[in-house]
Amino acid sequence: MLEMFQYDFMIRAFLAGIIIAILAAISGSFIVLRRYSMITETLAHSALVGVAVGVIAGTNPLWIAVIAALVSAWTIEYLRSNFHLYSDSVLAIILSGSLALAVIIVSLADAFNSSLFSYLFGSILSVTQEDLIVMSVFGVIALTLLGIFYKELYFIAYDEEVARTSGIKVDLLNFLLVSIVAIIIALSIRIVGTLLIGAMMVIPTVAALRFRQGFAKTILIALIFSLLAVIVGMSSSYFFSLPSGATIVLTLLFIFIFSLIVNRR
C-alpha cells in the first residue's frame, strides 16, 4: 500500500488533497449552514472558464481559475444585493453562463482533450510542483482568514440580524466568505475536478450534522470525514486508475450513507 508514495506525483497529490480536505470541510460548514450550498457548483463552473483560458493560453490554469472564480463570486454578491434577485436564480444564471463561455472557449481552441478531462473530474497525476506552491500560499491565507473570523461567521450563519445589531460587519464578512470559498474551489480542481468539488464542500458537513453535536464538534467530525474521503479516494484512484474526483466523492457518499444509518431518528 505504501509503495504508492515512492512516486513524487503521489506525494504531491496527497499533500494537495489534504490541503483541500481541510479547507473544504471548514469553509463548507458555513456555506451549508447558510443554505448556500449551490454557490459551490456555480463557482466551480466559473473556475472552468479560467481553466479553459489557461489551457488555450498554455499557462498554468490554476491562477486564472482563481481569478475567474473570484470575479464570479463578487458578481453573484453584487447581483444579489443590488438587484433584489432570488439567490438561487442568480446562481443558476451564472452557472449556465460560465459553462457556456467555457465550452465556447474550449471549442474555438479545439482543446477537448485528456487534460481538460482531468480538470473536470480530477487527476492525481496532474499536480505539479508549481500547483502545490500556489495551493499552499492561498491555502494558508484562506485558513488564516477562516481562523480569524470563524466566530463571526458562525454568528452570522446562526442569526444574521442579531449579528448585525451586535456590531459585526456582516456585509464585509459575507463578501470575505464567498471570496475564500471561490479561491478554495478554484484550487481544488486539480484533485477533485470542477464537476465534483461541490460534493467535497457540502457532504462532510451534512454528514457531520447527523451526529447532532455543537458547532466545534460538528466541524471536527466534518474535518475527519473530509480527510478520510481524500485518503481513501486518492488511494483507490491510484490502485484502480480512476479519476480521483470521482473516487473521493463516492467515498464521501458512503460516509454520508453511514452517518444516515448510524443516526437514524
Binding site: L33, I148, F149, K151, E152, Y154, F155, A157, Y158, D159, E161, V162, A163, R164, T165, S166, G167, I168, A208, L209, R212, Q213, G214, F215, A216, K217, T218
Partner: protein, 255 residues
C-alpha cells in the same frame, strides 16, 4: 457619581418610514430615558416591528432622525450597549449545531478583538448571563433540544453577555407557555429595577402591561401614546388603536 441631567438612550424625531410606496410609520417622535421600562403595543401590521428595526439600524428611515446614546444612529459604534432579542428567537433552525454555551458566547464576539482569545472578562460576562437566565445547567445541551421557554432565556442570556444598557425584545413570548411567560416578565422587571437596565419590548399581553409597565407606546402607523398604561387601556386609545376613532395623543417629551 452625580449627574446633573439625564441624557436619553433613544431620541427619535419626526421619524417616517415608507416601503413600496406604502406608509408604514409616520411622524413618530419619542424619547426613551435610562431605566425606562417600555412596552410597545398595536395591531398587526401597525409598524411595531418596523419601529424596533429602525431603532436598531436594520432599516433606514425615510424621514426624521434617531439618536442613540446622543449619537446619530448611522455613526453609532458601541453596539454592545444594545441587546436585541428578535421575534424569531424561538423559531430558529432546530437542527443548527449550537450548544447553549456556544450561543451565549456569540453575544460577546463583537467586543472581542480579532486576534485575541476570550479574556477573563468575556468568560465572566458569559457565565454571569447564564446564571442570571438560569441556563447554566443546560449549557452543553443543543439549543434545538430545548423547550420554547428555555430557548428564549438562552437568547436573552446571549443579549446580556455584552452587558448592554438597553435590552430590546420583539414579541419575546411567541411560542412560550404561560408559566415561563410569568417568570420571564419577572426577570425583565428585575433587570430593570436592580440594574437600571432600559427595557423596550413589543407585546400582545395587555394584562401584563397594565400591571407594571412604566411607559406604553401604542403604534398604529402613528404614535398614540399614554405614559400611564392603566389610562391607556381604559381610555379612547383602544378604539383608536383599532382604527375607530383615531385621535392622536402626543407623547410629551422635552424639546
Amino acid at each position: 457619581m452625580s449627574m446633573t441631567f439625564i441624557s436619553p438612550i433613544f431620541e427619535v424625531k419626526n421619524l417616517s418610514f415608507t416601503a413600496n410606496e406604502q406608509k408604514i410609520l409616520e411622524d413618530i417622535s419619542l424619547t426613551i430615558l435610562p431605566g425606562d421600562y417600555c412596552a410597545i403595543i398595536g395591531p398587526n401590521g401597525g409598524g411595531k416591528t418596523t419601529l424596533i428595526r429602525l431603532l436598531l439600524g436594520l432599516e433606514k428611515p425615510t424621514q426624521g432622525r434617531i439618536e442613540l446614546f446622543g449619537q446619530k444612529l448611522s455613526r453609532f459604534k458601541r453596539w454592545y450597549k444594545v441587546g436585541y432579542v428578535p421575534q424569531r428567537a424561538s423559531q430558529l433552525d432546530q437542527n443548527f449545531p449550537a450548544t447553549v454555551l456556544e450561543v451565549v458566547k456569540m453575544g460577546r464576539i463583537a467586543q472581542q478583538g480579532l486576534f485575541s482569545r476570550a479574556t477573563q472578562a468575556d468568560n465572566d460576562a458569559i457565565n454571569e448571563a447564564m446564571v442570571k437566565m438560569d441556563v447554566l445547567d443546560i449549557q452543553h445541551k443543543l439549543v434545538g433540544e430545548l423547550s420554547g421557554g428555555q430557548r428564549q432565556r438562552v437568547m436573552i442570556a446571549r443579549a446580556l453577555a455584552s452587558k448592554p444598557e438597553v435590552l430590546i425584545l420583539d414579541e419575546p413570548n411567541t411560542g412560550v407557555d404561560v408559566i415561563s411567560q410569568k417568570r420571564f416578565y419577572k426577570l425583565l422587571k428585575e433587570l430593570n429595577e436592580e440594574e437600571n437596565m432600559t427595557i423596550i419590548f413589543i407585546t400582545h399581553d395587555i394584562g401584563v402591561i397594565a400591571d407594571d409597565i412604566g411607559r406604553l407606546f401604542t403604534v398604529n402607523q402613528t404614535l398614540l401614546t399614554c405614559n400611564n398604561p392603566k389610562e391607556a387601556i381604559s381610555c379612547d386609545d383602544m378604539s383608536a388603536l383599532y382604527g375607530i376613532d383615531a385621535h392622536l395623543i402626543h407623547n410629551h417629551h422635552h424639546h
